[in-house]
Amino acid sequence: MNRYTILVYTENFIGILNRITIIFTRRGININALTASESRLDGIHKITIEVTVTPEQIEHLVKQIEKVVDVIKAYYFTDNEVVYQEIALYKIPIESLDPSVEKVIRQFNAHIIAAEKEFVVLEFTGHKEDTQALLEILKPFNLLEFSRSGRVAIAKPKFSVQEYLNNQT
């Protein structure tokens, strides 16, 4: 099993996300994380899916995704073929902010992005392993809440959805 990033470019069509996720559900495959947003191209959405499967499964999944009528193109990459990040937010009570915690914050290069009377919110962006490491460190300090996004990713290999669209057959 490997960890893969699937990049799906789709029309902005109601239900498209559902059509894509049922491909995984039907095969009993768990999606690690999923993000969706507009892409660089007007009217085209980009869905980023992280999934841990076998090489055969990823081939199969991507073909099934491409088969969806409103999907323009889908690509998959291994972790070293993409640049990716996940953002994590940590809510820490004010009284936990002692020098040792502040040291950790500096070490990780995390940022305090909100400070309220009773708590601060810390932001840290990185790979899951890094945000998880910080989480483990902060847990004993009465960490109140934690939230982590799915990955956003840019592929290293060159491909162009625009070019693909221009090449109508």
């Binding site: 029309e11 199969h60 491409e66 999907v71």
Partner: protein
């Protein structure tokens, strides 16, 4: 300006739809009201259940090669379509289903007969959409027809809210000719043709398997030309039957769990396996780990997601097989494979002796289903269409019916939907009243959609129904006998008097229990101008052989 409901009907007419199979209800009533004005331009068939409507549309689509059109109301009307959608999806049958929906402002409020049909039908459709305003109706229907019919065909569903049906809008129909995210046809890669031709030219024991893809691509002629030039033995899947005439010297029979002996067994003896428009269904391959491992596989296929799905291939040839077969025929050497073909004939002789002889010419014991099919062959018209349900009778009819031309078989392949045959036969018959349509059905399956006898009565479709009554859910009983120690758990049926039922629906009907009456009865049925119902009481505990049991390899196909 016209009402949305008129736009629905005018759009269907613009797409040259000949028939609508449907059932009315609250949320679709405006469309039904509109239909009242267009009866000269489009025919509506009122079935007795929405499942009947969609199976009838499937039968129509399969024999005509056109899109089948279905109309149903919201809620229960829409959910009754689900079985047919799943069936059409797995068997690549082009359908456009239009469902009514509650008014847009009520969506999500649990309004009367509101159901999320777009969500429910998503896995069972090639595409679906909900239309909530009048101006979106015609474009959605245009897209629906385009998607249903192009590439690998399939069912699509358009859910139209009631407000959109009663709003007024312009009607200006523009057929859909392309969608940028959807590329139904891949250009054929000439290198793959070259690579395939090289493998084929070098092969000593090449073997060709063809499926419904050949029929859907209208590539019957190209298939035959390829087989003629290469001399390669060719076998068909359940839905591929008829794509190559069974009388062709290279035709070697049928694949799969209850297919023929030689085509299954020799799959593991060929050196190059050429699969055309088929998807290596598990009913064809048996245990994949022991399937054609010795062979280099060439796969001619339109749908990229079928490549390497079940069987890894050495050379994929993506694209329309009408084109790729023609290109391949150009590229290969003229050859013959007589001694290899002879191997098939030897095993065929064994199957004849061990199975076929008795299936077709039993002389004692109860009537055999095979005898009925033999007599049908004797009296039927050449291009008669066989429609079957699911079970033992389906396999026996498929094995022994004389398929002389393409599009002469309609059956539920991938989903195996009991209850399919009766409505599908109606749809097939409506496409052409003059064609002979013979519906072979079991005593279990007929009772799943028996109400459609009423639709046959009302349309006067001259369907010939042959009920093969073994008083059992025969196929399940066969498995219970072979694999569950003869524990016949809930498979025996107390059946009604089918003749009385048929007569109540105005059918001419006859019941045969004795061998000496069978021939005359079949002959009498097949000269009728109108519908006919023939019940044949057959041996209760007959089994279908050959058989590849679940989990077994194709070489473990057994004759008894």
């Amino acid at each position: 300006m016209v009402r949305g409901a008129d736009i629905v009907v005018k759009s269907l007419i613009a797409e040259n739809a000949e028939y609508i199979f449907g059932y009315p209800g609250g949320a679709i009533m405006p469309v039904y009201d509109a239909l009242y004005d267009y009866s000269a331009q489009i025919k509506h068939v009122l079935t007795r259940h929405e499942q009947g409507a969609i199976h009838a549309a499937q039968g129509y689509a399969r024999v005509s090669g056109k899109v089948g059109v279905v109309l149903a109301t919201s809620g229960p009307g829409a959910t009754n379509l689900i079985t047919g959608l799943a069936d059409a999806q797995i068997d690549s049958t082009p359908l456009v289903c239009i469902t009514g929906q509650v008014a847009a402002h009520l969506l999500g409020s649990d309004a009367f007969q509101e159901t999320d049909v777009v969500g429910l039908s998503m896995p069972g459709t090639k595409w679906n959409i909900q239309v909530r305003s009048v101006e979106d109706i015609a474009p959605a229907i245009a897209k629906a027809f385009h998607i249903a019919m192009t590439g690998r065909p399939g069912p699509v569903l358009v859910d139209i809210t009631k407000n959109a049906q009663v709003e007024f809008g312009e009607f200006n129909y523009i057929p859909c000719t392309g969608i940028r995210s959807y590329r139904p046809f891949q250009p054929i890669n000439t290198q793959s043709i070259q690579a395939a031709a090289e493998l084929i030219n070098k092969a000593e024991r090449p073997y060709l398997l063809f499926g419904q893809g050949v029929v859907l691509a209208h590539a019957e002629k190209e298939l035959q030309e390829f087989v003629d030039k290469t001399g390669i033995p060719a076998a068909c899947t359940l839905l591929g039957s008829g794509a190559l005439p069974e009388t062709h010297p290279n035709y070697v029979g049928k694949l799969g769990m209850h297919g023929n002996y030689a085509p299954n067994l020799l799959t593991n003896k060929c050196d190059v396996l050429i699969a055309v428009g088929m998807r290596f269904d598990d009913r064809v391959t048996g245990d994949l780990k022991r399937y054609a491992k010795q062979a280099k596989v060439i796969h001619l296929e339109l749908d990229p997601s079928e490549i390497d799905k079940n069987v890894k291939c050495a050379v994929p040839v993506l694209g329309d097989c009408k084109k790729s077969l023609a290109m391949l025929t150009q590229a290969v050497d003229q050859k013959s494979h007589l001694s290899w073909l002879e191997k098939f004939r030897e095993l065929e002789a064994q199957e004849k002796e061990a199975v076929v002889a008795n299936d077709l010419h039993a002389t004692h014991g109860g009537l055999h289903m095979g005898e009925v099919i033999r007599l049908i062959n004797q009296f039927k018209e050449k291009d008669a269409i066989l429609v079957t349900d699911v079970g033992q009778h389906q396999m026996i009819a498929w094995r022994y019916f004389d398929f002389k031309t393409t599009r002469t078989q309609v059956t539920s392949g991938g989903l195996g939907t009991m209850g399919f045959a009766l409505p599908a036969a109606l749809g097939a018959q409506l496409h052409d009243y003059k064609k002979q349509v013979i519906c072979v059905v079991g005593d279990g399956g007929i009772q799943m959609t028996i109400q459609e006898l009423g639709t046959i009565m009302q349309t006067k479709a001259p369907v010939k129904i042959v009920l093969l009554n073994n008083n059992y859910l025969g196929m399940v009983r066969q498995w219970q006998q072979l694999f569950f120690d003869k524990r016949y758990s809930f498979t025996e049926l107390d059946n009604p008097d089918f003749i009385k039922i048929a007569e109540a629906y105005n059918f001419k009907a006859r019941k045969v229990t004795e061998r000496e009456d069978l021939e005359a009865a079949v002959a009498e049925m097949l000269v009728q101008d109108g519908p006919y119902f023939l019940e044949v009481v057959v041996e209760k505990e007959d089994n279908v052989f050959p058989m590849i049991a679940t989990g077994c390899s194709v070489e473990e196909v057994r004759l008894s």
